[in-house]
């Protein structure tokens, strides 16, 4: 069993009354509340920023002060801004029709008053003094809208987000179906909150505090512009939080922190660092899930990913990678199964059976244990025997798991560019250019010899490209030196075409971080 599963490393589980809708509490106890599959990397990052911003305002950024639960924060809603940006199609028409700025403003105020939703007061006239003409206003809104995060998806306007230029751009996901705003969990499914907690508990929490604080404060003209789009009055904020991350320490937290820290240290211009934070954030979330799963499976194996450097046709590496993907893809399911089995093998369960004088007594006692352990059993209406009870829990747990947490490996894997179907109809690991770029920026401060880089990718993430790494993990019969050499060569060609590798000769190549600052 992993040292990280020791009792002193586990955060006491929350009160059930905080999470009355959740039953069974099982995925949540293994990975946290909650690891949610239908959240894209950007939305995960935005949710993280929203939590961080709330905590910064209360002077507790990345500092849980020894209390691991509950983390609470008060996110903004910024409904004026959101109406202006995303619930405002008329602005462009008005800008086109009226050359007279005053008439344009008048027309627009009348329109927006009718359209606006969720704002306490439908008065947008504060805007008129803040722009020289209506056209300036409209042109800037058009430009800002271009920066919307995932603007090509068809989300309703209350779930659309502006690029995070700074604090004034951050707000929570909302549902306005009833006309009154309420919290929406579809886009902000709490995984961003887990990301925040992971960083709090990472060894690098002190190092990244200041750059994250700068990003949140956003001393830049775009954040100022966004501020000008909002009225001066402060909004009434509501308390949110109660996410649960089960581990006080975890190797994944440190690796995540390390990578973010490296990215910040590159000093990339303006907001260019974000795309890498976004990508690596979700990548580490996926790694966290698999690594944790392995602890519960008690395989004792390191999670690893045999990666194909995209080849034009089928290769041995692709075959190996497909199999490897399928093995990894059942890790979390096995973890859930094992977790359920462990309940039935626990001392309390056994003694409940031993101490009972009848089968029904044992059943009642075990039902009690289950209620305490996973907050489930009251809904159970099957036969009154413990075997059916366990079987039913397994059944329900698997169903629940497969709906969401069980998809994270596949969904996040694809979204961060690790998992791909390119050139085949089956999934395998074939990192795309963007992911490779982020990995280089996070791991190569200036330049690094290629073999050393490949070794680092393996040690840190379990990514396998080259023969040296493959040889360590593959059984002799699957290891083909030539195939892995060719794979490395393909990787090399790709990095080189991205300007991120220099080959000096057939014996010597360096991975280059193109953003390295000159020494």
């Amino acid at each position: 069993m992993s040292e990280f599963l020791a009792q002193e490393n586990i955060v006491p589980r929350p009160y059930q009354s905080d999470h009355q809708n959740i039953s069974p509490w099982l995925d949540e106890q293994i990975w946290g509340h909650r690891i949610w599959d239908s959240q894209t990397p950007w939305l995960l990052f935005l949710e993280f920023l929203t939590v961080a911003e709330g905590c910064l305002r209360e002077n507790k950024l990345f500092d849980e002060k020894g209390v691991y639960y509950p983390t609470q924060f008060r996110p903004y809603r910024r409904l004026y801004l959101r109406n202006i940006l995303f619930n405002n199609e008329c602005i462009f028409r008005i800008d086109k029709i009226y050359s007279d700025s005053r008439r344009a403003w008048k027309e627009w105020f009348e329109k927006i008053e009718k359209i606006a939703q969720g704002v306490p007061n439908r008065d947008f006239t504060y805007l008129q003094d803040r722009f020289p003409t209506f056209h300036d206003f409209a042109a800037l809104i058009a430009t800002l809208r271009n920066t919307a995060v995932e603007s090509n998806t068809n989300r309703r306007w209350s779930s659309r987000f502006i690029f995070p230029f700074g604090s004034y751009t951050l707000y929570e996901d909302l549902n306005l179906k009833s006309g009154r705003p309420s919290r929406e969990y579809i886009n902000f499914g709490r995984t961003g909150e887990l990301l925040y907690l992971m960083l709090c508990r990472s060894r690098y929490n002190e190092d990244i505090r200041s750059p994250v604080e700068d990003a949140l404060k956003g001393k830049n003209r775009l954040n100022s512009l966004i501020r000008l789009l909002q009225p001066n009055e402060s909004e009434d904020l509501q308390l949110k939080g109660y996410s649960y991350l089960p581990y006080k320490r975890h190797p994944s937290f440190d690796l995540l922190g390390e990578d973010w820290n490296s990215i910040f240290n590159m000093g990339l211009p303006a907001f260019d660092a974000f795309q890498h934070l976004v990508q690596l954030g979700s990548f580490h979330m996926m790694l966290y899930q698999l690594r944790t799963a392995v602890w519960f499976c008690s395989y004792g194996k390191k999670v690893r990913f045999i990666c194909e450097a995209i080849a034009p046709k089928k290769t041995l590496i692709r075959e190996l990678s497909i199999i490897n993907y399928q093995e990894n893809n059942v890790l979390t399911t096995s973890a859930v199964e094992n977790y359920v089995s462990q309940i039935a093998q626990s001392d309390s369960w056994k003694s409940a059976i031993e101490e009972s004088d009848s089968e029904i007594d044992a059943f009642t006692r075990c039902k009690g244990i289950m209620r305490d352990e996973v907050w489930w059993s009251d809904d159970y209406d099957g036969p009154s025997n413990i075997y059916s009870l366990i079987a039913e829990l397994r059944n329900i747990a698997m169903k629940g798991h497969q709906q969401h947490a069980g998809n994270v490996h596949r969904v996040y894997g694809r979204l961060v560019g690790l998992v791909s179907k390119r050139g085949t109809n089956r999934l395998r690991y074939a990192p795309n250019d963007a992911l490779l770029k982020s990995l280089i920026i996070a791991n190569v401060s200036n330049r690094m010899e290629l073999n050393k880089f490949l070794d680092k990718l393996y040690q840190k993430y379990g990514l396998i490209f080259g023969e040296r790494e493959a040889e360590q993990v593959l059984p002799c019969e699957s290891f083909d030196q030539k195939a892995f050499q060719a794979n490395t060569q393909r990787l090399e060609r790709r990095l080189s075409s991205m300007g991120m590798l220099r080959r000096l000769s057939d014996a010597c190549a360096y991975v280059i971080n193109p953003f390295a600052r000159e020494e």
Binding site: P132, L144, L228, F274, G499, A507
Partner: protein, 620 residues
């Protein structure tokens, strides 16, 4: 006759045949001693500077690292140093990787010279423990580098990978780590020296392969043994007579146009930073003369010639095709870098309607007849022979759907296009579109009007600069901008490298104005695009041929797929550099930063003119 035949067999040893790579130099020397045939030698461009490091009258004695890829001639150069220093030939012939000698220095007296001619053979194998003596020697070398006036010197030859690897294995010694970092720096930054150490670091992979080619070619065609082949009786024999493909290929290599075009191919390698070692240049030349796909090892020996002539397969010995390794199997072509590089230019595969019309209909078409006769018809060796005519007829008539005969003809077309690349005379280059036979349509222009023009101290034509600026603008802005008078530095609101960048940061005048300018200049002997944001703040972008081609094609309105992915990121990182330079200028001049709320939005009108519009918010 035997002398002539021996020579051909000797030459064949330089060709693409299996052999012991590490011992190439030693092998050739041994064969040479045995047969009495002088090896193919020429003065290496580095030799003088190398020997001067050990000059007994010099006051700047330096140790030397001689690095480079396999086949760059490291061992060969070491041997020349050894001989120059009066080292014993017997000792050298011993194959001992580490040898020593002394020189009598005019001022310092006796100086010991350590030569490690093959580092990989000398260091203990991976995983083995270092013998103390060897470890000490390397540490001694490291310490020596930092000493003022040494009385012993080293010459160490190793390929760069081994060099780095060997020093990494000595990481217990601080000094070795320091030297290792130094090697890395010299390698990656392409430097010969570092002020902190007494060391010359010669990287043979950095020597222009076009220059080496010229020397190698001269050495091969002027070799004394050719006389034995072509003069007197032998010159009338089947093997070396007028009908002999060996002789024909030799004569073609002596032809000035063929030589020039061949050199151009090596130029293209240089322009693309593709390095060809000396050994491979010799390999290519030996293969060019002797290549024939139907002979043993796909290289002719004297006995083969009669059979080749009688079987009517002389055309398969075509030098034009052999230059690209066309006589070899695809696997061999792929495994030999020089053929790999030459095939990147896709000569034979790229074509135009004009060229194909000439080849297919040239004989019958009035318009093409004279050119066809001149370039193809008159070539009784590798021109249009009976087999070509019959394959062509089948192809044109297209009567049966026999893929095999189509393929035969298409293969022949490839060979003919390759031949054309070496045959089109200067005055018809433009009319026939010589460079359109390659993937680099702008290569001729790049060579003549950029590279050579700059070397001769001329300025690059304005029209070329304008084209590159236009290409750069289109890529940086992400819109079909037509302006070439100013360079547009634009970003997205969120990402500086957004595909479409609508926020204008700065316009830089191409003509010199207030310290700003865009120009093409030479830097470290290579053409670079220079963008000056002020008198002191500039950034440069090396114009490799592929980048030049890419920018030019983008400016012409086409985004070739094969190039786009490769070059796009590259050119975008140059934009990042330019943006960084801009921010330096703003810091320095205390210019207004982009912190006020005025935004310069960029769009283009229907004619492709960029239009700048300022919009603003008022900070209340």
């Amino acid at each position: 006759m035997k002398r002539a035949e021996d020579w051909i067999r000797f030459l064949r040893k330089y060709g693409p045949i299996a052999r012991n790579g590490n011992m190439f130099d030693e092998d050739i020397i041994r064969t040479s001693m045995r047969t009495g045939i002088a090896p193919i030698t020429f003065e290496h461009p580095l030799i003088e500077r190398l020997i001067s490091c050990f000059d007994p009258f010099s006051d700047s004695l330096k140790s030397v690292i001689l690095t480079g890829a396999a086949g760059d001639g490291k061992t060969h150069l070491c041997r020349q140093v050894w001989e120059k220093l009066g080292g014993d030939c017997e000792v050298w012939a011993s194959d001992e990787p580490y040898v020593q000698t002394t020189i009598q220095h005019s001022r310092k007296g006796l100086i010991q010279i350590h030569i490690i001619r093959d580092l990989s053979a000398w260091v203990p194998q991976q995983g083995m423990v270092w013998p103390a003596a060897k470890e000490d020697l390397i540490v001694r070398f490291c310490n020596l580098l930092f000493m003022g006036d040494p009385n012993e010197l080293f010459l160490i030859a190793a390929n760069d990978g081994q060099l780095i690897e060997t020093w990494r294995r000595l990481d217990a010694h601080k000094i070795a780590m320091k030297v290792s970092a130094l090697f890395e720096k010299l390698l990656v930054e392409d430097k010969e020296e570092d002020p902190s150490v007494r060391l010359k670091f010669f990287n043979l992979s950095k020597i222009s392969c076009a220059e080496l080619f010229e020397q190698a070619l001269k050495a091969i065609i002027s070799h004394e043994r050719w006389k034995d082949c072509f003069e007197g009786e032998n010159g009338e024999s089947i093997t070396f007579g007028r009908q002999s493909p060996i002789r024909k290929n030799y004569e073609l290599l002596c032809d000035s146009l063929v030589r020039e075009r061949l050199k151009t191919l090596f130029d293209l390698c240089d322009y693309n930073d593709l390095h060809v070692p000396v050994r491979e240049i010799l390999l290519l030349l030996a293969n060019a003369i002797l290549g024939h796909p139907d002979c043993g090892g796909r290289l002719m020996i004297p006995n083969d010639v009669a059979r080749v002539i009688n079987s009517g397969t002389v055309s398969k010995a075509s030098l034009y095709n052999n230059i690209f390794g066309g006589n070899l199997s695809v696997i061999s072509q792929d495994s030999i870098p020089v053929f790999n590089y030459f095939n990147l230019f896709r000569i034979g595969r790229e074509t135009t309607n004009r060229i194909d019309n000439l080849l297919i209909y040239g004989e019958e078409d009035e318009q093409f007849q004279p050119v066809f006769a001149q370039l193809i018809g008159s070539d009784s060796f590798y021109g249009a022979n009976a087999a070509y005519h019959s394959a062509k007829r089948t192809y044109i008539e297209g009567a049966d759907e026999d893929n095999e005969s189509y393929k035969t003809f298409l293969d022949q077309l490839v060979a003919h296009r390759r031949a054309l690349f070496f045959k089109i005379p200067h005055d018809q280059e433009d009319a026939l579109g010589l460079w359109e036979l390659t993937i680099f349509r702008y290569a001729g222009e790049f060579r003549k009007k950029v590279f050579h023009a700059l070397k001769e101290g001329h300025k690059v034509e304005r029209r070329i600069l304008s084209r590159l600026v236009k290409g750069l603008n289109r890529i940086w802005v992400g819109m079909l901008v037509d302006d070439d008078r100013e360079l547009y530095l634009a970003t997205g609101l969120s990402f500086s490298n957004a595909r479409v960048s609508r926020i204008l940061a700065e316009r830089i005048s191409v003509n010199p104005r207030l310290g700003q300018k865009v120009d093409i200049i030479l830097k470290n002997n290579k053409p670079v695009l220079l963008v000056a944001l002020s008198k002191h703040i500039t950034c440069t972008f090396q114009l490799s041929l592929i980048r030049y081609e890419f920018l030019s094609r983008v400016a012409d309105g086409a985004l070739p797929n094969s190039f786009s992915k490769e070059c796009y990121e590259d050119i975008m990182s140059f934009k990042s550099q330019a943006l960084a330079a801009l921010s330096r200028r703003r810091d320095e001049d205390e210019e207004e930063k982009d912190e006020d709320l005025v935004f310069r939005l960029l769009r283009i009108d229907e004619h492709g003119n960029p239009i700048e519009e300022s919009v603003e918010a008022l900070d209340v």
